[in-house]
């Protein structure tokens, strides 16, 4: 299994731990989806969709390795601006936990790339979303990821 796959699996496992019973603000961990392309239902809020959208190779890598920056976007969806902000905090905490373990020993570093971008709309009810973007820096053997 590639390191990229292991990092994504690690993220998936950690995001699913976002539960109030684990000391988080929300229960977003009950609704975690990878690359989901159809809209979330009301019952799936607070919910998270993540995607490993870009894997950028560093121009310089350790000898015999490829150094990668895996860009991951996590979208947080909720029924109010407050809920979304609470979700952002939860996801940030998870990313911090992942960094502490170096993503299960698979990565060198984690960079919060662009911070977050948030939107709130009022249709029949209020809904909101935010995207957190970060990069996981990792080394893989040459010609692998």
């Amino acid at each position: 299994m590639s390191k990229r796959q292991q990092i994504v699996d690690y993220l998936n496992t950690e995001l699913k731990k976002i539960l109030k019973t684990n000391g988080f603000n929300t229960d977003a961990g009950k609704n975690v989806f990878a690359w989901r392309d159809n809209p979330l239902t009301r019952a799936e809020l607070t919910g998270l969709i993540y995607r490993d959208a870009l894997n950028r190779k560093f121009p310089v890598s350790p000898i015999g390795k490829f150094r990668w920056a895996l860009r991951i976007e996590v979208a947080i969806f909720g029924t109010s601006a407050n809920e979304v902000r609470a979700g952002i905090e939860d996801v940030l905490k998870v990313i911090g936990n992942c960094e502490e373990t170096k993503w299960g020993g698979n990565a060198q570093d984690t960079l919060l790339a662009d911070g977050d971008e948030m939107a709130v709309e009022k249709h029949d009810i209020e809904t909101g979303a935010a995207i957190l973007t970060f990069e996981v820096i990792y080394d893989a053997n040459k010609w692998s990821m």
């Binding site: 249709h123 029949d124 009810i125 979303a129």
Partner: protein, 100 residues
């Protein structure tokens, strides 16, 4: 093309009674209620959330001076008016939300 008499038939046959509250003024009017499916917060190509646009069509003469934040109560539910779309056929479409 609507004529005045047609408008009355429209609001007699298909409308529901609603309480329109504009400032301190409150009156009963008839509106045609409708919903339109819409995806909310489809931010940066992420999938978004299933959502609905709630709207009513009212006789323009019934909602003269309508403003954002005025309310419509239909049955036991109160909606806030978020958008006002005037038509040139004597009706006004009001976009509603359950939240202010």
């Amino acid at each position: 093309m609507f004529y005045d008499a047609d408008i009355d038939i429209f609001f007699t046959d298909f409308a529901r009674v609603a309480t329109f509250k504009h400032g301190l003024e409150e009156r009963e009017i008839r509106v045609v209620f409708n919903t339109e499916y819409q995806v909310a917060v489809d931010i940066n190509t992420f999938a978004g959330i299933e959502s609905y646009r709630l709207m009513v069509e009212a006789k323009t003469s019934d909602v003269e001076g309508v403003q954002h934040g005025d309310t419509l109560t239909i049955g036991d539910k109160t909606y806030y008016i978020h958008e006002v779309q005037h038509t040139d056929i004597g009706t006004t479409r009001l976009l509603l939300s359950e939240v202010e």
